[in-house]
């Protein structure tokens, strides 16, 4: 039986890990390779690196981060953030990434998903979707640029479309639930799972081990992702895995 994956997400800016939450005006930082190693030892099933650099130098440093991590770490890595072309994708895969996640660029140029899938395979083409519920319109819409810019694209339609274009996986962040630490957005995730037949990584809202158990019990998603709760050690990967195993969720033991 396939195991549910627990995935920490590392936000990397100019070659260093930054925390999503600002604390006393200072952002705590970490060496991405060291942090990746720590998560590997703690039982992470996969790592997602999100490049939030704004400059070309920053993106180049990201390539170096992936390369150095891949030399020492033998678990799957997904890289997203700022990838705009098949050349960008190729650069990351050559550095050692197993998958890339496409977000804003895919919404601007949906054909990028098809090109990536044809050139590198569906299995390395993950599409990241930032979704937000619009109460007035009664539907979810996609956002770009790290959730800053709304679009007119309906999340459910987009998910189906990128699957048809050749995406092999979706990384879905519920912007309504992100940062709330109240649990994952089961309603959105269930809806998506009824529409697509590719694996979904759920993101946004995981605050404790119980939330991951509920996620896997109530939806058919393949993985749960979180960032700050793992970085801040509010909950450990081991705790999440233990809770899942106790409740009969198939999980990889390390």
């Amino acid at each position: 039986m396939i195991k549910k994956r627990i995935i920490p997400c590392l936000d990397v800016k100019d070659g260093i890990v930054v925390k999503g939450i600002q604390f006393k005006g200072l952002r705590e930082v970490g060496d991405p390779v060291a942090m990746a190693k720590r998560y590997n030892d703690l039982g992470a099933d996969e790592l997602v690196f999100l490049d939030i650099s704004a400059t070309e130098t920053g993106h180049a440093l990201m390539v170096d981060v992936i390369r150095r991590t891949a030399e020492q770490l033998f678990i799957p890595m997904t890289v997203g953030g700022g990838l705009k072309s098949v050349e960008d994708i190729s650069r990351m895969l050559n550095a050692g990434a197993d998958k890339v996640s496409l977000n804003s660029a895919a919404l601007r140029d949906p054909d990028l998903v098809r090109r990536s899938s044809e050139m590198f395979g569906a299995q390395c083409t993950c599409v990241a979707i930032d979704a937000k519920w619009d109460e007035e319109k009664g539907d979810w819409f996609c956002y770009t640029h790290g959730g800053k810019r709304p679009t007119e694209v309906l999340t459910l339609e987009w998910a189906k479309r990128v699957q048809d274009l050749g995406a092999g996986e979706l990384l879905v962040t519920s912007m309504d639930y992100d940062g709330m630490k109240q649990g994952f957005d089961h309603r959105l995730l269930k809806k998506l799972m009824s529409i697509v037949n590719i694996p979904i990584i759920a993101s946004g809202g995981g605050g404790n081990a119980r939330h991951f158990v509920d996620l896997f019990k109530e939806t058919d998603v393949s993985a749960g992702l979180a960032a700050s709760i793992f970085h801040d050690e509010q909950v450990s990967i081991a705790e999440v895995k233990e809770a899942c195993a106790k409740e009969g969720v198939a999980i990889r033991n390390v």
């Binding site: 039986m1 396939i2 195991k3 549910k4 994956r5 590997n40 099933d45 390369r67 891949a70 030399e71 020492q72 033998f74 678990i75 799957p76 895969l93 050559n94 550095a95 050692g96 990434a97 197993d98 044809e118 050139m119 590198f120 395979g121 569906a122 299995q123 390395c124 092999g168 996986e169 697509v196 037949n197 590719i198 694996p199 979904i200 058919d220 393949s222 993985a223 990889r252 033991n253 390390v254």
Partner: protein, 191 residues
């Protein structure tokens, strides 16, 4: 010296890293002379079956590989394993045909690709490790199967016939368990 066949497809760097980590000398090459000197040949690959066969043809590697698999340990990994078989639905083309069996699209109510950590199953319970799979096509065969995984259907995971080995999952991405399996494959395999 382990030779990784370089035919322009796939994420070879990670395999190289893993082999180095295990202490092997590794060379990435498509030069027949260099390949002939290797102790082991690994055929990697991710992506499209037809694209891979086209590349092997363009590089003139098909007769070279056929010679190599007869003379030394030969390991196909992921798409590289699928290429060892006779035919694939992916592009509807013939493979290298070293082993009998066909490559078919995974049809399932479960998500496809078969992506993630799944447990290796064997007749005697050896090799019972979680390893990382990521593929949409599977090898349909009953022969030469050393290990498989359960995904609502049987997924061929390791095949071996003599010194010819195929590994469907990514041993280089399956943590320490995967590295141990890769090492074992290079040290004679699973029979």
């Amino acid at each position: 010296m382990v030779a990784l066949v370089d035919y322009g497809l796939g994420n070879i760097q990670n395999l190289k890293n893993a082999l180095k980590y295990l202490g092997y000398e590794v060379v990435l090459t498509k030069d027949p002379l260099v390949l002939a000197e290797a102790t082991h040949v690994i055929l990697p690959g991710v992506g499209h079956f037809k694209a891979a066969m086209d590349r092997l043809n363009e590089e003139g590697l098909i007769p070279v590989l056929d010679q190599l698999r007869r003379s030394k340990p030969f390991i196909g990994i992921c798409l590289g394993m699928q290429l060892l078989f006779s035919h694939s639905e992916e592009g509807d083309v013939d493979g290298l045909s070293y082993l009998p069996g066909k490559v078919e699209l995974i049809k399932s109510d479960l998500p496809v690709p078969h992506l993630g950590w799944n447990t290796l199953l064997t007749k005697d319970g050896s090799l019972e490790e979680d390893v990382y799979f990521i593929h949409s096509y599977k090898v349909a065969t009953d022969e030469n199967v050393v290990a498989w995984a359960d995904y609502g259907q049987k997924i061929t995971a390791i095949v071996q016939k003599g010194s010819l080995i195929g590994i469907q999952f990514h041993p280089e991405k399956s943590g320490y368990a995967g590295l141990a399996i890769l090492d074992k494959a290079l040290k004679g395999g699973f029979l």
